[in-house]
């Protein structure tokens, strides 16, 4: 039987169709389900092995990106979601979905009590931008979603993607526990397979605090995220939030330079395949 994926929709979520296509191409059997239907019939979550929170502008991001969606979801479905996670199932949140996961406290959930520990706030530029970025994947992470990928190019399309943490301690713990899964980078110049050198962030010359330390300049780090963080996972490695959009790179021609370069065949699909394969093997 195919791995089934629940793609949550409603109230301004808008990247659900391509996310559905991504999971279909990855071999899953996805369903798009309105948040109101989930609230009305939460039991249906048991039938799914993957939960996916797509990008978009839930509630217009009016009270903060993903904020209202997170509040409503958590209030009505927290217990169900806890069971879902306990059973070893997978969750992915992309862009607005990442913001939702963060604001529910599911990511990174260092405390284990769903307290919000990090946030995604207005880009330092103050504007929404759509541009492709280069991402270095942390392949020493235990995250199951990013396995076997060293680097990838994906588009960011957000106005509130600046990753910050509640405190320097939280940031240090994220790094110590190796929960950062992707970072923005200016160039792909590493030897494939080599882990990201985190020491650059520990330099004593650099003022280290929770909200402004980065190594990669704008626009390569498009939003001013601390430690150039584009994606994190939880301690199980089964829950991931990603600011850029892997579901926007499903075929070669999505890439902005496909006409002039040999495009890295490792497109966004690999991430979804990782999730689906993990669930079909477990």
């Amino acid at each position: 039987m195919k791995v089934s994926t629940c793609i949550v929709t409603g109230y301004g979520i808008n990247a659900d169709l391509e996310l559905e296509e991504a999971f279909r191409r990855a071999g899953s059997d996805p369903s798009r389900i309105h948040i109101n239907d989930l609230i009305e019939n939460p039991g249906q979550l048991e039938g799914f092995q993957i939960m996916a929170f797509p990008g978009g502008f839930s509630f217009g991001d009016h009270l903060g990106s993903g904020k209202v969606f997170a509040t409503i979801f958590k209030k009505n479905l927290k217990e169900r979601l806890e069971i879902f996670i306990e059973r070893g199932k997978l969750i992915i949140g992309i862009c607005n979905g990442f913001q939702v996961l963060v604001k529910m406290g599911i990511l990174p959930n260092l405390s284990g009590r769903w307290n919000q520990e990090v946030s995604l706030i207005h880009n330092l530029s103050g504007i929404f931008e759509d541009r492709w970025v280069k991402l270095r994947i942390n392949n020493t992470s235990r995250c199951i979603w990013t396995r076997g990928i060293d680097e990838i190019e994906l588009p960011v399309r957000h106005g509130e993607g600046r990753f910050v943490t509640r405190s320097t301690e939280v940031l240090n713990e994220l790094e110590r526990k190796n929960l950062v899964t992707m970072r923005y980078t200016e160039k792909f110049d590493t030897v494939p397979g080599q882990a990201y050198d985190r020491s650059i962030h520990d330099s004593s010359e650099r003022k280290v605090n929770a909200e402004n330390t980065w190594n990669v300049p704008y626009p390569f780090n498009p939003n001013g995220s601390v430690n150039d963080i584009a994606s994190i996972c939880d301690e199980t490695g089964r829950i991931i939030g990603i600011m850029p959009h892997p579901e926007a790179f499903l075929f070669r021609e999505n890439h902005p330079r496909w006409m002039r370069e040999k495009v890295n065949p490792e497109n966004g699909l690999k991430i979804f395949e990782n999730g689906v394969n993990y669930m079909s093997e477990s």
Partner: protein
């Protein structure tokens, strides 16, 4: 309860940084810091508790929340000025609405009902930390940038003042509650105490009474039209039938308003359907019955509809043209695509942000209301402004500065497109002094729908007698009342501010999701959008299909009480659709709507009575014959006089005269003086200046703010090349995940040529849209186009002495459009016109240049064969495809010379660009085949600025250099080097071909003008050689191109 939320000090606020930078850049105002506070005032009986509020509103990681009036302003120290900005009463505030919904959803299971009586007001507080005390002028400028007084209020408080006053004395922003506005006048209408309706006894009115009535009520009806209404209300059989329904012969305000809306220029396109007497070369515009005058019965029928009809036989892909909310063509066997472009000029002139956002979400609804409902897959927008660096003193008092217009419109498009999840894939920014009179905001949307829905053809709507009329989406308020008639008048001091509203993309997105679900379950039969004219327009139009409708205004859900019946009918409150639903499906329909949190209400019933009947509180308040409503409008009779090109130049003098009175920069004009032969400026200086010209320069900073790839279909993006910063010629989408078939979207627009002859302008616009499609690899035979005309008032009158000339310009544009479309075999599938694009100030008109936008969508059979504009590899051959001529009149080079004080030379014989359609068509067909064979590495269409600009852009894309030899260009006459470099001859491309494919390519292109100019170089230097001179006539480094082209506009 008032809650205030702000970033903790150590989390910099990107919005504040942006504002600081902008104030410094545009006004030289230096601020150390700005803190931004979001304030919500929650009123009502069932207030949420503090913990709920904390959870709903505050991000605990980065924000603080305080619950008290101005608590944040007290807690945050050191600021000098506080500015609080909020929307005025009655203006939709999406943030406040979301806050209310959030509280309501959060509390849903704890109290028994929803939302209760909670009202939320929202305001933004800016705490300013200036580097030195701000003068009055600086404060004024800041206030201007932070709010639009038409729809927003801003209060400024100095710190000292604030500290002295008790907080209770500082006025708190409150705007979302709407007390009823008592406006009920006594009148003779029966039962008026229950149904507040005014009525007017037209038969007893004189002509001047009629004119006064039309003027007082902003009906925008002419005397002749008022007389036609009067005649109807004198007909005995009609009066008899009215009396049976409890009405008298007096027309009710409901009826009068519905007629005015239906007959508005906006809805009935009276000018495009007028009978026009068109003459050429008549001196003086005197009333001479010239034997040569041509009588045109409807420009629309003659030049647009008939053009498509003539092509229909050849173009089997046309599905629905001109009848529906958008034009529909077949994409593949199982799918149709549709496209519509609207303008939202007048609202954008008053409130740029609101005007643009309602423009974009409004045209989205046209797609949702096409056939049985299509799904929007792309947006486009073409925006025309006066130059953003216009000195303040040159902006007439009452108008917004063009930079503010541009910033506001741009933000509206950003929010409208991004929040709707519909990518903005193509468009343009144009700058010209004439757009001071009104900005032009063209908003387009394309959609896709399955060819069959539940076994039925998807492009056919059904509205049958007995079907229920259902309104879906937002509630009705006073917003946008008279929008349809208002847009049919020119802007003046008395323009109604109620015409301004703010669109809410999220409410609409909820509705769209619901409608697509309902569509696929077959829960409704017909659908159309509520735009201009509101229910009056949507139900009035739908009723034509069934043969009548009965509307119950009391059933309509209102935002707040106090609306008069006619206001309910005419309101243009956003985010609403009207549907026909079969009685046996209504329960499932309403049930699904409620589960999706979308309001849906039965507001009437479709009939075949031949009548539109309007009820309020059980009383008939309107009774109109459908036939009269839609066909009773008298045909307008107009005169058009084209004085010939020679006279046009004098006409231009007159226009210019008007403009200089307002201190605007003088319009360029042609002079034929003998003295004018001066040395032309240095070529390199010219080229760099052209690259900086805002029309040509990079708009990347603005365009990157549009989400251009949501939904995952993007193949050619707005920017391309090695560093993704060179311009593309248009957009290419792959609208089906499982098909390699591509859909292109392109535009053509060239208002500058229209100054000389709109015939050429129209042909060039069509050519530009088509050649951009071909440049990407599109099949020139599989295309469909839209025409959008934005014109200054073309109706001759005492106030508008040049009306006959402007109408002649319109006629000539239509003739050019027809010629180009017939020759290129491009069916027109939809279009729109906007006719009063000017602003009157002290009795003087500031008019826009006549502007025709062509929007085109077309097919690329295999996206894998599509081509981008950037040069690919050093060593590739650079070719110029197409004929070069002295097409410099109206060119950017020409205008550059005039601005620098140069004059066109006597005897230089510069021509206005005009495509040779026969030769061009051959070129396009051959180029398409060559691309299909994979022979072309890059291709860029040559347009604004000409050949040199195109080569610079393509080289920048590839981050390479180029060496070209202009002698290779064979022209019909001897061209000078500057003419070759800057000519805007249409139907041309710069292409690169890899060496091993050159022979094949040249073979493929045999019979067309194809010149091998040179090769792509690795060294990032651009070299142009001419006439075997030893030194290149132009040499520059790529970095110079980049620096000048990317100079921020």
């Amino acid at each position: 309860m008032r809650i205030e939320i702000f970033n903790k000090k150590n989390y910099q606020d990107g919005r504040a940084l942006k504002l600081i930078a902008s104030l410094r850049k545009h006004h030289g105002i230096l601020l150390r810091s700005i803190r931004i506070i979001d304030a919500y005032l929650i009123e009502g009986e069932t207030q949420p508790g503090p913990s709920a509020v904390r959870e709903i509103f505050c991000d605990p990681v980065t924000q603080e929340i305080l619950i008290d009036d101005f608590a944040a302003s007290r807690k945050i120290k050191g600021w000098d000025y506080m500015i609080e900005v909020s929307y005025k009463r009655g203006v939709t505030d999406p943030v406040a609405l979301t806050a209310r919904d959030a509280i309501s959803l959060y509390e849903r299971d704890e109290s028994d009902g929803k939302g209760k009586e909670i009202e939320v007001s929202f305001s933004t507080i800016y705490l300013l930390y200036p580097k030195s005390p701000l003068g009055r002028d600086a404060i004024e400028r800041i206030l201007k940038d932070l709010h639009n007084p038409l729809i927003q209020e801003a209060r400024i408080t100095e710190h000292g003042e604030f500290a002295r006053e008790k907080s209770a004395d500082v006025k708190i922003a409150r705007h979302q509650s709407h007390p009823p506005i008592a406006r009920m006048k006594s009148s003779g209408a029966p039962g008026w105490e229950k149904a507040p309706v005014e009525s007017f006894d037209l038969p007893s009115m004189t002509d001047s009474d009629l004119e006064k009535l039309s003027k007082d009520r902003l009906l925008a009806l002419s005397l002749e039209e008022m007389r036609a209404v009067k005649n109807q209300y004198e007909r005995a059989d009609f009066i008899r039938r009215r009396e049976k329904r409890g009405l008298t012969r007096a027309i009710t305000d409901v009826e009068l308003e519905m007629i005015a809306q239906t007959w508005s220029e906006h809805c009935k396109h009276k000018i495009f359907n007028a009978t026009i007497q068109y003459s050429e070369g008549v001196e003086g515009g005197e009333d001479r019955e010239d034997a040569e005058a041509e009588v045109i019965n409807s420009l629309f029928e003659t030049y647009i509809k008939r053009t498509t009809e003539r092509l229909k036989g050849k173009k089997g892909y046309l599905k629905s043209v001109f009848d529906d909310n958008s034009g529909v063509i077949q994409f593949d066997e199982d799918h149709l695509v549709c496209f519509k472009v609207e303008t939202h000029n007048s609202p954008s002139a008053l409130d740029p942000y609101g005007g643009a956002i309602t423009g974009i979400v409004g045209v989205n609804r046209d797609i949702m209301g096409t056939g049985k409902g299509a799904r929007p897959i792309f947006n486009t927008n073409v925006l025309c402004f006066a130059y953003p660096d216009t000195p303040e003193r040159d902006v007439p008092e009452r108008l917004l500065h063009p930079r503010r217009v541009m910033d506001g419109v741009h933000s509206g498009i950003v929010d409208g497109g991004n929040q709707s999840g519909i990518p903005v894939v193509a468009g343009a920014f144009l700058f010209d002094e004439s757009f001071m009179g009104k900005p032009l905001v063209f908003c387009g949307t394309g959609g896709i729908l399955p060819a069959k829905i539940m076994g039925e053809d998807s492009w056919v709507k059904h509205i049958d007698p007995g079907d229920l009329a259902v309104m879906v989406g937002g509630r009705i308020g006073k917003d946008g009342i008279h929008g349809a008639t208002f847009s049919s008048l020119s802007l003046s001091e008395s323009s109604p501010t109620s015409a301004v509203q703010i669109g809410d993309p999220i409410t609409q997105k909820k509705m769209l999701d619901f409608l697509l679900e309902a569509r696929d379950r077959g829960l409704y039969k017909g659908i159309t959008d509520n735009g201009a004219g509101g229910l009056s327009s949507s139900l009035g139009e739908m009723a034509r299909q069934s043969g009548g409708v009965t509307i119950d205004l009391s059933a309509c859900p209102l935002k707040y009480p106090g609306l008069l019946p006619w206001e309910i009918l005419l309101s243009e409150s956003q985010e609403r659709m009207s549907l026909s639903v079969a009685p046996d499906k209504i329960d499932s329909f309403l049930e699904l709507a409620s589960r999706r949190d979308v309001e849906a209400t039965v507001v009437g019933k479709f009939t075949n009575s031949g009548v539109v009947e309007v009820l309020y509180a059980g009383i008939v308040v309107g009774y109109l014959d459908l036939e009269f409503l839609h066909n009773g409008l008298p045909v307008m009779k107009l005169k058009a006089n084209w004085p010939g090109s020679r006279r046009v130049l004098e006409q231009l003098d007159r226009v210019q005269h008007n403009l200089t009175k307002f201190g605007l920069e003088q319009l360029d004009r042609v002079q034929s003086g003998r003295e004018a032969s001066l040395m032309r400026p240095e070529i390199k200086d010219t080229l760099l200046s052209l690259l900086q010209e805002p029309n040509i320069a990079s708009k990347e900073r603005l365009v990157r703010q549009y989400d251009h790839e949501v939904q995952g279909y993007s193949v050619i993006k707005p920017f391309t090349g090695a560093l993704e910063d060179a311009p593309s010629d248009g957009a290419l989408l792959k609208p089906l995940y499982d098909s390699e078939k591509g859909l292109t979207v392109t535009h053509g627009i060239c208002p500058w040529y229209g100054e000389y002859d709109t015939y050429n302008m129209a042909m060039c616009a069509v050519d530009e849209a088509l050649r951009a499609h071909v440049a990407m690899g599109g099949n020139p035979e599989e295309v469909a186009a839209l025409d959008n005309f934005c014109w200054p008032d073309p109706v001759l009158s005492e106030d508008n002495p040049e009306g006959d000339f402007k109408l002649a310009q319109l006629v000539r544009a239509c003739k050019g459009l027809e010629k180009a479309c017939i020759d290129y075999e491009i069916p027109l599938i939809s279009g729109k016109d906007s006719m009063k694009n000017e602003t009157e100030i002290e009795g003087k008109k500031l008019s826009v240049k006549p502007t025709l936008l062509i929007s085109l969508m077309g097919i690329i059979p295999d996206i894998g064969r599509s081509v981008s504009t950037d040069f690919k590899k050093p060593g590739d051959y650079i070719l110029l495809l197409g004929d070069t001529d002295v097409h410099l009149l109206g060119s950017f080079y020409h205008r550059f010379l005039l601005k620098r004080g140069y004059k066109a030379e006597k005897g230089n014989n510069w021509k206005l660009p005009l495509p040779d359609t026969g030769r061009a068509k051959k070129l396009y067909t051959k180029l398409f085949r060559a691309m299909e064979h994979g022979l072309v590495s890059s291709c860029h269409d040559i347009s604004d600025g000409g050949l040199a600009v195109a080569i610079c852009e393509s080289a920048l894309g590839g981050r390479v250099g180029a060496e070209v030899f202009l002698d290779a260009i064979v022209a019909s006459r001897d061209l000078q080097s500057d003419e070759i470099l800057f000519s805007e001859s249409p139907s041309r491309f710069i292409a690169t071909i890899s060496p091993e494919k050159l022979k094949d390519f040249l073979g493929q292109m045999r019979g067309t003008r194809t010149a091998v100019l040179g090769r792509v170089r690795e060294d990032k230097i651009l070299r142009f050689n001419f006439k075997e001179k030893e030194e290149p006539i132009l040499e520059l480094e790529l970095s110079e191109v980049e620096r000048n082209w990317k100079r921020e506009i």
